[in-house]
Amino acid sequence: MFMKPTVEEQTVHGSLHPMVPQPWCVRRLRWETEDTFTFELTSENGLTKFCFLPGQFNMLYVFGIGEVPISISGAPAKAGSLVHTVRAVGAATRALGSLKRGAHLGVRGPFGSSWPVEEATGKDVVIVAGGIGLAPLRPVIYEVLAKRQRFGRVCLLYGTRTPDDILYIKELEKWRERGDLQILVTVDRAGQNWTGNVGVVTTLLAKAQFDPDNTVAMVCGPEVMMRFTIRELQSRGMGVNDIYISMERNMKCAVGFCGHCQYGPTFICKDGPIFRYDRIQHLFAIREI
């Protein structure tokens, strides 16, 4: 007879069957920009802590609409809630954005590889984010700031479309006020009222303070942006072994069964989404995949 695992069993042995969504409930939802929102979920089955690593993602299921892979954007150490930032671009993500407080949805996860926060101990950290790519990197920033003394110089370089598209604007301000984190933000275009930077995110690298021989770089954004960022990091003297990127493909099962997200010999959902660049460098130039 099938016995439903207790909450304790789930916590001890990890999640339930990876293909079975667990019920979670929307606690709050806040629009960050015109098309991007952040929402916080609480577990419906009594889980008090959801363990994940920075960079991992969940499959979020809007009942009757569909399931989408979304990176976790909250703090790994924060108990009792799960935070995601979503850009409303398709049926499922738009439906997620219309959920009200108290609404239910299914969650499978966490899945995938993580950013190398531990490996960056004792080194400078360069975080390069483009657009919604800041969301999967936010847990890294939380982790690094929580253990700030373990790292060298830390810089966050963030590029997006316009000043209205900047995510986590208050948090960026708060982090900037700390004084122990170099934060450079740029937009692709802006009106005259914008006194910040205008230009592509790669131009910020020239202003970033880090030692290329002792740095870990974590890059997340559109693939083109990552390609140019990698070139720029290399021209600053960084080696391919110290550059990590987050890849994106059409993920369905999230456990490497269905093959939708196959990327050469790897599956983005299982082997990624975070890869050390030297491990997929040979695939990066193959346009067909």
């Binding site: 740029t186 692709d188 005259q192 592509v200 954004g221």
Partner: protein
């Protein structure tokens, strides 16, 4: 007190130039300062100078009817503003404005063009450096044109 030649030598644009060429450049250079909001040049005006930014922030803007001035590029410490002084008809193609109080070295383009005509080595050095900046800006503009952050469903 720091001499203008020393300041010039420290700027990334002039780094690695021979003393002879640095001296030639210094002969065409002056220190300038712009207040926040001050116009540096305007589209269509004669382009007789370019600027090596030492401190502060400047914007390159394009005026579009109904949209006003659109900020298309921000430049800061270590950057170079302006290359229209090098290419006929020597007219600015864009507007430029200081966003913050900005200190820069202004280089007289006419003066440099004359010196470069007489000294082809200097001319080649200047062209190499300006070509590098142009290539970087073109590259960045192409990336901007891709609108990589546009939403795709």
């Amino acid at each position: 007190m720091e001499t203008l030649q020393r300041i010039l030598a420290d700027h990334p644009f002039a780094r690695g130039l021979s003393d002879k060429h640095l001296e030639l450049l210094t002969g065409c250079a002056s220190n300038v300062r712009f207040e926040a909001g001050q116009e540096v040049f305007r589209e269509g005006e004669e382009a007789n100078e370019f600027y090596l930014i030492r401190e502060g922030k400047m914007s390159v803007e394009l005026f579009a009817p109904e949209r006003g001035s659109v900020n298309i590029l921000t430049l800061g410490e270590g950057d170079v503003l302006g290359w229209s002084w090098l290419v006929p008809p020597y007219r600015w193609r864009f507007d430029a404005r200081a966003i913050e109080p900005t200190r820069a070295i202004a280089l007289d383009g006419k003066c440099l063009r004359e010196k470069a005509e007489r000294d082809s080595e200097l001319g080649y050095e200047l062209l190499k450096r300006m070509a590098h900046i142009m290539e970087e800006r073109l590259h960045a503009t192409r990336l901007q044109l891709l609108n990589v952050y546009e939403a795709h469903s």
